[in-house]
C-alpha cells in the first residue's frame, strides 16, 4: 500500500512502488488531465507539481512520494481559473491541447518563482515541452499575459 496526497486529498493505493506516478494518476485515480507522451521525460506532457516544483510524472515512482504533495492540472485551481489557465484561454493557446496540461503546470511553477519572466526565462522554463501543433508563439504571449495580470 502506498500513501500519497494528490490535490490535497490523501489516497492509499494498492500498487507497486515502482509504478510511475503518471499511471497511478491516470488509471488508479482517474485524473486523466496528466498525459502520456513519451515515457522518457522528453516531451513534458506528464508534468505535475511535487511540492510546488514541476516534475515529470512518468519518471517519478510512487515509492518516492511519501510525505510529498502532488498537484495535477485538475488541482491547480478549484475552478480552473488560475491566472495561467485564464491567460491560455485569453490568448487562445491550445490546438489539439494534449500537451497543454503539462505546459500550464510548468508555466504556473515558473511564474510562482519569477512573476515577471523575460523571454529567456520562458525559453529556459518551457523548452522541456513539446507542442506538436506548434502553439509556442501563443504560449509565450499567454505567459506574458498572465505575468501582466499578477
Amino acid at each position: 500500500m502506498i500513501d500519497l496526497t494528490v490535490n490535497g486529498q490523501p489516497h492509499r493505493l494498492d500498487a507497486e512502488p515502482d509504478m510511475p506516478l503518471l499511471w497511478a494518476l491516470r488509471d488508479l485515480l482517474n485524473l486523466t488531465g496528466t498525459k502520456y507522451g513519451c515515457g522518457i521525460a522528453q516531451c513534458g506532457a506528464c508534468t505535475v507539481h511535487l511540492d510546488g516544483q514541476p516534475a515529470r510524472s512518468c519518471q517519478t515512482t510512487l515509492g518516492e512520494l511519501a510525505g510529498r504533495k502532488v498537484t495535477t492540472i485538475e488541482g491547480l485551481h478549484p475552478e480552473g481559473a488560475h491566472p495561467v489557465q485564464l491567460a491560455w484561454v485569453a490568448e487562445q493557446v491550445p490546438q489539439c491541447g494534449f500537451c497543454q496540461s503539462g505546459q500550464i503546470m510548468s508555466a504556473a511553477a515558473m511564474l510562482a518563482e519569477k512573476p515577471q519572466p523575460s523571454d529567456a526565462d520562458i525559453d529556459a522554463a518551457m523548452a522541456g515541452h513539446i507542442c506538436r501543433c506548434g502553439t509556442y508563439q501563443r504560449i509565450r504571449a499567454a505567459i506574458h499575459h498572465a505575468a501582466a495580470k499578477t
Binding site: 487562445q92 493557446v93 523548452a127 506538436r132 501543433c133 504560449i139
Partner: protein, 718 residues
Amino acid sequence: MQRRTLLQAGIATLVVPLAPASAQPAPPAVITAAAANSPNGGPGQITAFLRIGQDGLVDFASPVTEMGQGTHTAHAMIVADELDVPLSAVRVTAGQPEPALRLQPVGEMYSGASFGIRFWHDRIRRAAAQARMALTSAAAERLGAPVGELTTAEGRVLHATSGRSLSYGELVDLAARLPLDDQPRIKPAAERRLTGRAAPRADIPAKTRGAAIYGHDVKLPGMAYAVARLSPVFGAELESFDRASLAGLRGLIDVVPLPNGVAVVAENTWAAMQGAQRITLRFKPTPDQALDSAELIRRLQAGLAAPEAFRGKNDGDIEATLRGAAKGVEATYTAPYLAHAPMETENATVQIQGDRVDVWCSTQHQDWCIRDAARVAGVPRENVRIHTPMTGGGFGRRLVTTIVEQATTVAKAINRPVKLIWTREEEFAQSYWRPAFAARIQAALDAQGKVVGLNLRAAGQSVMGDYRPALFAGPLRGNDPFSLQSISDTRYRFGAFRAEWHRIQAAPKVWLWRSVGSSQYGFFLESFLDEVALAANKDPLALRQELLAHDPRALTVLNTAAREGGWGTPAPAGRHRGLAYVECYGTLCAQVAEISVTGREIRVHKVTVAVDCGDVVNTDTVAAQMQGAVVWGLSAMAAEHITLKDGAAVERNFDTYPILRINQAPQVDTHIIRSGQPLGGIGEPGVPPLAPAVCNAIFAATGRRLRSLPLVDQGLHV
C-alpha cells in the same frame, strides 16, 4: 425535400439533414430521439445533423474530427451565423458515418485533405438556412403575420410591426411539421455576423483544465488495459511468443497474438507496458529485413534514371528546349522519411456486447474504424458505433485504423472491454511516414535569361498505392494524386514543361503527412527556382513574378508576402531573407523567412505569411494554423528524419527524433487575403513554403545551397 420530425418523450426537435454530399437522392426523412449523445458513449445517439431543441440549443453532428484544427468551432460559427442564434447555443460533436456526412467522391466519412471547411461550408450553411426558414414559417403561422414582415435574431423570430416575438424553442414543435424549403435563402456575405471574424474556440477552456477527454482517457466499466509490442522490422509476421517470460508480472491478464506482434493485457497501463517491454517474441523472416538508409537512397537514385515513369505533365518539346537552351540549370534534391508523431499515441477502446460493437478512437477516418471492427468482430457494419473523443493531433496519421483492428482482436479474445495503446516507441516504429523522395530538376534559359523549359523527374514510394491499388493499373503504373502534387498543377508557366514520377518499392509504409506531396515538392521546386534566379541574374521575387505574370491572384499572394516581409528593403543588421510560394488544397501561400546565421547555428527570427484560401470563417484559426504550420515545417527541416537499419526505424522516441521547441520557434505574422475565390483548405497549405523560404535565406546569408534535409545532416542547427 420531405420531412422528418417528431415528438418523442414529449420533447420536440426540429431536425434538418445536410444535403447529401453527392448527386445521390436526399436521405430519407430523418427521425431523431430526444436522447442526447451520451458523453461516455452510452446507447443515446445523434442521428441527425442539425437539431434544435425546445431549450433553443442547437446540436450539430459534424462530419469532421476536432483534432486541434478548430473545425468544430468554425462549423458552429457557420450554423450560428446562418440560423441567427448565439454562438454559445451551438454544440458540435463528430457524428456517425451516414451518407450525408461522407466526403465525395470516395463516399467515406474522414477528416483529410484540408476539407473541413472547403467541402462542408456551403452544405452546413444550407441546412441552417432551411432551419431558419422553417422556424420563420412557423412563427408566421403562430403570429398571423406574413413571412415577409418577420426577421430572425439571437434565437428568436421577431415581428417588428407588432413588437411580438417567439423563441426558436417555442417554435420547434410547429416548425418540425412544416416542409423544408428546397432552395433556402442563403445569407449573402454582407449579412453574415459571425463568419469572417475571430471567434474563441469552444474546445479551449476544457483543454486548460485537463477536462477534455481524449482517446487515451476513455474508461469503461470492467475495462482492461493493453499495450502492443509489434515487429520493428517492416512486414515481419509473428512466429511465436513466450508467455513464460512474463511470469510474476503483477496485474497480467493475458497475451493476445496479433499478425505482427502481441498485445499484453493487464489491469493497468503500467503493468501492460512492462509486459510489452519484457515479453520475448520471434518473427518470421521477411524480404526487406536488411533494408537500410543507404539502400533506400540507392533505390531513389535508380528511380531518377529508370526508363519508366508516370508522366503528370508534358507540355511542349522539353528535350529540344533543353538542348537549345542558352543556359541550363540542373540540381538534384532529396527529402527524408518523416513521422507525424502526434502527441497522443495511437489508441482505441473496444467493447463487444453480443453482436454490437462500440469503438472509441481518436480517429480521422470513422468509416474505416467501423469497417475494421466489423470485420474482426464478425458483425455487420451497421452493428458498430464509432465514438470520436477529443483527438491529440492527427496530421494525417489517424487516417490509418490498424489500431482498431488490433483492439477489436483483443476485446474478442479476452471477452472484456479493452483500451489498447501504442507506446511512443511503437508509434515511431510502425511507419506510415511521409515518403522519402528525390528529384532531379533541369531548367532551360534563353539568351535573355527567361525560363523556357522545366524538366522534373522524381522518385519515391506511393502514398496511395497500397490503399487504392486499382489506381495503379495500366501502362503508366498509375496516377497517385499526390505523386506530383503542387508540380503538375502549378500556376507557374515554364514554357516546355515535363514532370514525371517513378514509383519505388520499399517495405516501410508511407502515408499522408500534413501537406503530403507538397511538403517535399515545395522544398524542391522553390529552392531550385532561387538557383534559376541566380543563374539568370534575377531577384528571386522578380523571377517568380515573371513566371506568374498571367495570374493576378497568385501575384497578389506573392507580392503581399514580399511587401509585408520587407522584401527589397534592407534587412536588420545580420539578418537575411528568403522567399517561397506554394499552392495546395486550393490555397495559395507565400512566406518570407528572416534569419541570422552564427557559425553553424541558424536562427529563424520571423516568418511573414500571406495566405489566400478564398474566404475565411474564423480568422484566428487561420492565424493559428499558419503559426502551427511554420513550426511544423521548421521542425521537419531542422532535425526530423527517420533512418533505417536492419529493416527497421532507428529513431524511436523524441530523444532521437527531436521536435522543435519554444526556444527555436519564430514569430509568425499572417496576412489573410480574401480573394472571394472558391474556399481552400487551411490545415496544410502553410507547411510547404517554409523549408524553401528558410533554405533560400540560408543561401542569401552564406552562399551555401542546401539540397537535402534535414539541416542537422548538413551540420547546421536551428
